[in-house]
């Protein structure tokens, strides 16, 4: 590994950009892609082929919602990189937050912009029950699965039994099938990944294919910008929560408390990983939930998003308040420390990027996208036997 890095540094030094050893290590840390994947121990049908198919059908099923008008795909639109292009999501009513993409969601530690859920399957329950999103109940979802012949058949195939008498248990299983489907949604390789791998190999030809502006932007990302303090690893997120100076007023007199309320909701939920629906008997998956700390500084903190396919998920930030990637870069370039918690982190400071540096950083961020459009909708028929 050390020899490979030395080769990479020497090769990089021969290009127009001299990447130092520390820079090569920093770039290498954003790969490889795709990452190694493991089933979710908290979900006994994670990776199960029939569960994935049931989850896919339920994802596009409008009857899951109260009134039968809204499916998960109302806000997570496949053709829009699994988001909706709106500033704030609208299900049965307008919500307070931007719709995050669900690409690569299986890699997350916390779910939802406030991290109020600790598993992908428990995250699926939240919008189903939220009156502004799908407005349903456990009884409503359980009735659909029990009475629809095709769903009841698929439930038996996946879980090996007829839907149980407990509506709540059926809802949890529905969410686990939804999670099994969402685990299959991974973004593809990007120009950055090809550059990163070429850099690690010391492959001059491979490195030369990456645009010069993106290389300069990458150096800002891991250097002057310190963006990789929070946007770490192959998914470009540390999976945790930060106050980035975006206003948390939703409207006059109403605020979004972000992570502060998220932790309270998490600990109060019967569907958290400490609860009865975690299929991991060891409860090793519940370590984060058991130890998470509620602090005053959590007020107004929101989850660090992945940057993969970022160019395809405008608008940005937890409230969708910034329309373009350039607006996001400008926000961090001019951010006022006065807008951050006085007792909070001391990470952000205005980057004061020049016009060229801002363009280069956007060029780098653009290179983190695979172009989108990999998913093809299916025509479902009721054919379970």
């Amino acid at each position: 590994m050390r020899r490979a890095l030395l080769v990479a540094v020497l090769a990089a030094a021969q290009t127009a950009f001299a990447f130092t050893g520390a820079e090569v290590r920093a770039v290498a840390a954003h790969g490889p892609w795709p990452p190694a994947l493991r089933p979710d121990p908290s979900n006994r049908v994670s990776g199960n082929r029939e569960a994935i198919e049931l989850g896919e059908r339920l994802f596009f099923e409008r009857r899951v919602s109260a009134g039968g008008g809204v499916s998960c795909s109302r806000c997570h639109v496949p053709e829009l990189n699994w988001t909706d292009g709106q500033a704030r999501a609208k299900g049965l009513a307008l919500t307070d937050r931007n719709t995050p993409s669900i690409l690569n969601v299986r890699l997350a530690r916390w779910f939802g912009l406030d991290g109020a859920q600790d598993s992908l399957w428990s995250q699926g329950i939240r919008p189903i029950l939220d009156p502004r999103e799908m407005g349903a109940s456990a009884a409503h979802v359980a009735k659909l699965v029990r009475e629809d012949v095709d769903y009841a058949c698929r439930y038996r195939k996946v879980f090996g039994t007829t839907p149980p008498a407990s509506d709540e248990a059926v809802l949890a299983d529905v969410a686990k099938a939804l999670a099994a489907f969402q685990e299959t949604l991974l973004s593809g390789r990007t120009p950055f990944d090809d550059f990163r791998d070429a850099l690690v190999r010391g492959d001059q030809t491979g490195m030369s294919r990456y645009p010069e502006a993106a290389k300069r932007g990458l150096q800002i990302f891991i250097g002057k910008g310190s963006c990789n303090f929070c946007h770490t690893g192959p998914a470009f997120t540390n999976g945790e929560f930060h106050d980035t100076g975006i206003p948390f007023f939703i409207e006059p007199g109403r605020v979004d408390p972000g992570r502060y309320e998220g932790i309270k909701k998490l600990l109060a939920s019967r569907f958290n990983l400490l609860g009865p629906y975690n299929d991991d008997a060891t409860r090793a998956t519940a370590t984060g939930t058991r130890h998470v700390a509620l602090e005053h500084r959590n007020f107004g903190e929101f989850k660090t998003p992945s940057l993969r396919n970022l160019a395809l998920t405008a608008p940005y930030m937890h409230n969708g308040g910034l329309a373009t990637l350039r607006a996001v870069v400008d926000h961090y370039s001019t951010i006022s420390p006065d807008r951050l918690h006085s007792d909070g982190e001391a990470i952000l400071k205005p980057l004061r990027l020049s016009e060229e540096e801002s363009r280069d950083l956007v060029a780098f961020l653009d290179s983190l996208s695979d172009g989108g459009g990999a998913y093809r909708r299916k025509a479902f028929t009721a054919d379970c036997r």
């Binding site: 929560f241 130890h291 001391a346």
Partner: protein, 125 residues
């Protein structure tokens, strides 16, 4: 007579010295005026939970373990739980360093109404 006294002093010191030996491999030793802390962690990787095994000599009434990033002015997002293992040994579980950079481990040791902090910096990539 003098030799006999030195032997007695060594015997008296022996339990404390032994208590601060952490079996199982290399460990970090921290010292204050009153205490010695010997600790060991698993591999430190950004964003992964880990445990800290440690010994405190002399055994205190209570001990807390924490970690923070002084330059960033923030701590962990998780509250570790310390469990006594007997013989002045402890295990803290639930720690996670969620950002790369310079972290400082803090062992807050308390006895007789007095608290001492023993600290150690680590670099996480």
């Amino acid at each position: 007579m003098r030799r006999w006294f030195i032997g007695l002093a060594l015997l008296a010191a022996a339990p404390a010295a032994l208590a601060c030996e952490l079996a199982g491999g290399p460990a970090q030793t921290l010292k204050s005026n009153t205490y010695t802390v010997v600790y060991r962690t698993g591999p430190l990787r950004t964003g992964e939970h880990f445990a800290v095994d440690f010994a405190v000599c002399p055994a205190p009434e209570s001990v807390r373990v924490d970690a923070w990033m002084p330059e960033h002015r923030h701590g962990m997002n998780y509250r570790p739980e310390v469990r006594a293992q007997g013989g002045g040994r402890y295990r803290a579980e639930g720690l996670m360093l969620h950002m790369a950079g310079s972290w400082e481990f803090v062992f807050e040791v308390r006895s007789g109404g007095k608290t001492e902090r023993l600290t150690h910096r680590v670099q996480v990539e």
